[in-house]
Symmetry: C2
DNA sequence: TATTGTTATACTCTATAACTATA
DNA sequence: TATAGTTATAGAGTATAACAATA
């Protein structure tokens, strides 16, 4: 157990750093999800927005963005991509905003996406039992809540 | 409680989606850390690598990358930035690789970074008590381990 | 005045391919 | 042959600023 031998084993000073560990896990999860969505030809952000619109028909683009923490400027190309693929339609609500809703194609597509997301979740978090999973969800929600505040319901 | 009233409350279909919640929390954490590091003029990735090098002197660039899951191609500019600011030095080990170590400046700087990281951790995860924190760390480690496999100690 | 949507732009992290040089 | 390091390039998410049109 001399110094050079001990030095040959790498130490991770960030092992107990929650932020870092979270970042690493999230990056791996994103890569996995991206790969599973690749065959559908949508990015994770597009899939997320489509599923949200499906669950909240006639919502406004900026309301979606506020709720998902996606800035207005970054929502525009996401909505444009979904509309171009005929997955959503935009109905003018007044002179400046639109109500968003899934098309029939989009609804079918959303069901397909849900399966991809479900298999991703199973592959990534299947090791957790129900209780652990529940606790993790609650912990994350509490942490997000503490930092971001309550979601804006607009 | 008519339909239009019920529709005015937005529903988040991804609320119980662990991957999504993780992504959101991680993004918020990254933004907070970036802001705290901004005054030091380093990116989170550079700070991470510097702290790792400080804890593992004379490690090789590619070994750092393997351990932190940063690709060789993406390590190059990180190392170049740290060296240019005189925070690390590179000593040739053989004709093709270098041993990395903190300079005196880098060691001092690393201590400063640790304080920024610590305040970030406190702000972000301070709401967790010791037991919750320990459990979260272990859960994340188990999940990462299940997906990425054991770290390569090279 | 405030909000909606858009465009332009930039930054950070990540990913792949291709190349040189060395083990 | 395999590895170390580099460069170039691209994709994804995110950020700010500025603008036109509308509430």
């Amino acid at each position: 157990m001399n110094a050079s031998l001990a030095a040959s084993k790498l130490v991770d000073p960030l092992e107990t750093n929650l932020g870092y560990q979270l970042r690493r896990l999230s990056a791996a999860a994103m890569a996995d999800l991206s790969a599973r969505l690749a065959s559908s030809g949508v990015k994770p952000s597009e899939a997320t927005v489509l599923l949200f619109i499906q669950a909240n028909p006639e919502t406004t683009q900026s309301a979606v963005g506020r709720r998902l923490s996606i800035q207005r400027a970054n929502m525009a190309p996401i909505i444009a991509a979904l509309e171009e693929r005929n997955l959503i339609r935009r109905t003018p609500l007044n002179g400046r905003s639109f109500g968003l809703a899934c098309t029939r194609t989009g609804a079918t597509f959303a069901e397909k996406l849900k399966k991809s997301v479900a298999s991703h979740e199973a592959a990534f978090f299947g090791a957790l039992d129900g209780k652990e999973r529940e606790r993790l969800i609650r912990t994350i929600a509490a942490l997000r809540n503490a930092v971001e505040g309550e979601p804006d319901d607009a």
